[in-house]
Symmetry: C2
């Protein structure tokens, strides 16, 4: 049976369908709770969240569901501050800031490790059974502390090697992110470009080499994708784009519409928004920044530099300056409730399975 | 049942497993016949073959099998002859030619349409039930002529739009080539880069929009991949890399070894060998030519310019100058007979299906 395995047992969920912890306001308490109430695992995308905001969100979710859910956090990164690149990018962004009436951004010395430690403290204080990590693997000490607190830990990998590293670190499960996926690449050990492996190729190669449950991600939107992933050897799936356009999603309406109206070749890879490669629906910002991608400040400095632009662009209804993250399976996107998305998957799988 | 549908009926084959018609000497009569005798559909990769060589190959296959098989041909392309790019590329290739003792190549005015017409004449004269096309769609007249001769025609698509164009042209089936695939991209209508859609995302989007049988390709190597493709909505699969390393394959031993020893991130996209994007195991030639990829002569001129280098490199055992075409699912490659590859797929699918 597709929905009864080690993963569903460990996570205590009915269906091995994990809603990706997408950052940037998409994963409202309503979305997370709706997914968990429907039998999947909802996840808060807390990557950029201040610790106290995360706490409020977690408490809001507990009011909406008694089912398990998770929180996704970003391992801290230590960018090199290349002042040349920052100055140059400020010049490039200046006309857009003027058009939108947005003030220039001053780049302070980031303290990403402080934020991360504070987030982890909140996760230890609040009742959150599942914690997932993107952009690398936390320290041995932190993993031990979280495991001692009975947290289930999920890592992210984009290559076989990264999956093996996750297993070796003590992660309980690993999300394997195929090249179809929307949003940021989770690559943390080697070339982003070479780690663009399609889900159909990546999943079986990882499954053959790790013993922890593998969660397939990238291009999975419906019952066909879920069942195909299970056949490839995954115990579950993580779906992002499918939930971005859901009724409960906090994604901006322009973001939802961009996905709903996009063809499969609409979402392209870009580093222009954050300094790190990510897949989103192509727009003016991506195309105009493309030639400058080699001279952008590192992630997350570039993310900080474009943040106000993206927010203000949404307010002024200028999707040409927004980050419209999306995977490649856009034509399967629908504006349905999260509950409906999951029940449709379940009945689609039931229909397909009857053919065997 | 995965192996009983419109595709298997039309092609009169037992299993919907199509061995890709890979050009360059890989698809020996022994390989094609072995696949067809095992219940799949063997295919001659005749893209670069002279018409009379194709005729001899077809006759050799008829001596080895009574089962249906196919021939793949390339739609002719009309490159722009940019003398600057040719001169510049000759300069780049000159040290390699010296190292290998290979003479410079003179680029004659190509007559690709003459070759194509001659190939089609042979296909009409000889008993070949299935003809597949890469790099575009043949003329209406040619399609009518082939259909009048009861040939089954298979097109190649890398986007939904290209699949729709294939169906509208009268193709009986369409191969849908995901970004995982090895060798040349079949893209013929738009940007190569944007048409890099993973199999998991591409197949269901195409299936929802065409009525002819869809054949999934890209990253499919075993029973898991075949069954997953069927669940995504494909009626069959096309497998290339899996057969390159087979016993009966005519691939050079260095080519087979490169795939067998490669990790999943070994095969990269390159235009360096032919002027058209293709996926192969990264080597010195690819890395050293990468910075010049924007100034290469068009396909197939660049292919002609590197042809002698690649052949001689194989003889001198210098895989660093060979085109080592491969998809992304390298870790699943094995040096088995084609018959064994197919029977392993069949028993793997039987085992998986019993779990339903």
């Amino acid at each position: 049976m597709w929905n009864s395995n080690q993963l569903t047992d460990q996570l205590k969920i009915k269906y091995p369908i994990i809603q990706a912890g997408m950052a940037g306001g998409i994963t409202t308490p309503e979305l997370v709770a709706a997914v968990s109430n429907a039998g999947g695992l909802g996840n808060v995308g807390a990557g950029y969240m201040r610790a106290e905001d995360m706490r409020h969100t977690i408490r809001a979710i507990h009011k909406l569901t008694t089912q398990p859910f998770g929180v996704n956090v970003f391992n801290p990164e230590y960018p090199e501050t290349k002042q040349d690149y920052i100055d140059q990018t400020n010049d490039l962004l200046s006309p857009i800031r003027k058009e939108l009436g947005v003030a220039p951004v001053s780049i302070s010395e980031d303290t990403p490790s402080t934020l991360f430690a504070e987030q982890i403290d909140v996760l230890l204080e609040e009742n959150v059974p599942v914690i997932s990590f993107t952009f690398g693997i936390p320290s041995k000490e932190m993993i031990q502390k979280l495991k001692a607190a009975n947290k289930i830990l999920i890592g992210t990998a984009t290559t076989v090697e990264e999956a093996i590293m996750n297993e070796a670190s003590g992660m309980d499960m690993v999300v394997v992110q195929g090249s179809e996926a929307g949003g940021h690449r989770g690559t943390f050990n080697g070339s982003f470009e070479k780690a663009m492996i399609g889900t159909v190729a990546l999943v079986p190669q990882v499954v053959d080499r790790v013993n922890i449950p593998v969660i397939a991600a990238g291009g999975i939107m419906d019952g066909r994708g879920v069942l195909a992933s299970v056949i490839l050897g995954a115990q579950g799936v993580q779906m992002g784009t499918a939930f971005v356009t859901s009724v409960e999603s906090g994604a901006k309406k322009q973001h939802k519409e961009a996905i709903l109206n996009s063809a499969e070749d609409g979402p392209v890879m870009t580093s222009a928004f954050s300094g790190k490669p990510a897949r989103g629906v192509e727009n003016k910002f991506i195309t105009s920044m493309k030639q400058h991608e080699q001279q952008l400040p590192d992630y997350p400095i570039q993310n900080t530099m474009t943040n106000a632009i993206r927010k203000e662009a949404a307010k002024q209804n200028k999707p040409e300056y927004m980050s419209l993250w999306s995977g490649q399976n856009t034509r399967l996107s629908q504006n349905k409730s999260a509950d409906q998305i999951i029940s449709d998957i379940v009945s689609q799988i039931r229909n397909i399975s009857q053919g065997f």
